[in-house]
Each structure stands twice: as structure tokens, then as C-alpha cells.
């Protein structure tokens, strides 16, 4: 899954640690999500969407290449 988390975070001039603190997760988790190494659970995705006052689908989008391969 691809996401715009890095861009949204940069727009607010937040560090990964700051975002992690606001979402109650570790900085490593933020890093893994930003690098598409880890897909967050639905509750965490909702939390992220709430924090950036956006919809989930505006932040996360499916990786079509992987979906078509599956």
C-alpha cells in the first residue's frame, strides 16, 4: 500500500518522533509506514486520517501492481 504520510508530515513540519508521539506509536512504526514496509491496522489508519483531517483514501492508496499480481 502506498501513502502520503511523509508529505503530510513535511507540510506540518513534524518529525517522525513528533508524529509517533501524537499517534501513540513508536517512531519505527511511522518510519515503516512511510516506507510502505508496514500497512497500519484500520483503527490506526482512521487515527492518522483524523489527525490530518482527511479521509483514509486520501492518504492511503492500494498498490495496484501487487493487487494485480495477487
Amino acid at each position: 500500500m502506498n501513502n502520503r504520510l511523509k508529505v503530510l508530515r513535511a507540510e506540518r513540519d513534524w518529525s517522525q518522533a513528533k508524529l509517533a508521539e501524537l499517534l501513540d506509536v513508536s517512531r519505527q512504526t511511522i518510519n515503516a509506514i512511510e516506507n510502505s514496509k508496514y500497512d497500519p491496522s484500520l483503527p490506526l489508519a482512521f487515527k492518522i486520517a483524523d489527525l490530518f483531517e482527511s479521509k483514509i483514501e486520501d492518504i492511503f492508496e492500494p498498490d495496484m501492481e501487487n493487487i494485480s499480481r495477487a
Binding site: 518522533a17 509517533a20 506509536v25 513508536s26 519505527q28 512504526t29 515503516a32 514496509k37 508496514y38 489527525l51
Partner: protein, 202 residues
């Protein structure tokens, strides 16, 4: 104001990023206690190589250093709340002390019933340690919980393979090893599994 911005403003105003002075003091006291316990084990393991007070000092010094180091970490960088860490340290030290006491009692001429009872010296703190580990995992965030789960699965599978190899070698006539080493093998496998999964999600 969203709940996130509220939390942000509260943290800014209260400076709660640092461990409280009370927690720092408790960490130092816990480090000292656990260090003293490990000093006793060190004295036994070194077989009187160093005088007992020296081993005790080494253990207590190391414990103090660890307690101080934990107190210096910003709260937001800590994976577990300080009290969970202290409980884990205490239960771990009690387990090591229990093992030490049990192996010491094995050398004495006790009857079988008393020996069976004395094995509880290590088992009860061992179970307490497992509970603290479970409680620590429950405090992790979702990705770290997944890392731990995968590491435990790898440790389980790896240990099963080691047991199978030992069993097959036993059938071929090789002597059975000390089964206590399985705990060490399992811990090593867990560490490898954790490093591997952490690398995958890095």
C-alpha cells in the same frame, strides 16, 4: 480542538516527555536490588575467584548504572512504561536467584519430596517473569507486537528443529545433552527472529 492537538498541547505544557523524579529514584533502587542479586550469582559462578563483597559491588554498580541509564531516556522513546521494566528486572533476577538456590540445594542431601518442592523456587519467579513479558508485549504498539509475535514463532519453530535433531541423534546413540540449554537456545532463536523481523520492517 482534535484529541491529537489537545494531547500535543498538554505534553508541551506539562513537560511529561521526561521520566518523573519518582520513577528515576525507583529505577535506581530497583537497579541496586537486582544488581545485588546478580552479584550473589556472580560470586557463585566465579567460584570464589573474587571476594564476595567485590562481586556484590560489581553487581550493584552495574545495576545502578542500568537503572540510571533507563532514567535518562526520554519517556517517548521508551517502549514499555518504567514500572513494567522494573517488574521484568525483578522477576528476571528472582528467577536467576531461584535457579541459583535450587542448584545449591541439589548438592545437599535432601529427600525427594523436598527437592521437588524446592524446584518451585525457580518455577514461580519464572512464571512471574513470563507474565511480565506478556504485560510488556501488551504495551507495545501494533507493529512492535507483530515483530514480537513473528520472533516468537521463529523461536518456536527453531527450537522444535533443535529438539528433533537432538532426539534423532539420541536414537543413533549420541548422549542426551542438558535440557536446560534449550532455554538458552530458545532465547537465542528469539533474538535472531527479532533481528530478522526488525530488519524486514526497518
Amino acid at each position: 480542538m482534535s484529541s491529537f492537538l489537545y494531547k500535543e498541547s498538554v505534553m508541551k505544557n506539562s513537560g511529561e516527555q521526561d521520566i518523573s523524579k519518582d520513577d528515576k529514584r525507583r529505577n535506581l533502587i530497583s537497579g541496586l536490588g537486582v544488581g545485588a542479586a546478580l552479584g550473589v550469582v556472580l560470586w557463585s559462578a566465579l567460584d570464589d575467584l573474587l571476594p564476595f563483597p567485590f562481586d556484590l559491588l560489581i553487581g550493584m554498580g552495574t545495576g545502578l548504572l542500568v537503572g540510571y541509564r533507563i532514567g535518562q531516556r526520554p519517556l517517548m522513546l521508551m517502549r514499555y512504561p518504567p514500572y513494567i521494566l522494573r517488574r521484568m528486572l525483578f522477576a528476571g533476577a528472582a528467577f536467576v536467584l531461584g535457579m541459583f538456590a535450587y542448584t545449591t540445594l541439589l548438592d545437599r542431601d535432601l529427600d525427594d519430596g523436598l527437592l521437588m518442592l524446592s524446584s518451585l523456587l525457580a518455577i514461580v519467579p519464572g512464571i512471574a517473569f513470563l507474565f511480565t513479558v506478556g504485560s510488556a508485549i501488551a504495551h507495545l504498539d501494533e507493529m512492535q507486537r507483530r515483530i514480537q509475535t513473528e520472533a516468537i514463532a521463529i523461536a518456536f519453530a527453531g527450537t522444535a528443529i533443535v529438539v528433533l535433531v537432538i532426539f534423532l541423534l539420541g536414537l543413533a546413540g549420541f548422549p542426551n545433552p542438558n535440557w536446560g540449554w534449550l532455554l538458552v537456545v530458545m532465547t537465542f532463536m528469539w533474538l535472531l527472529g527479532k533481528l530478522w523481523t526488525m530488519w524486514r520492517y526497518r
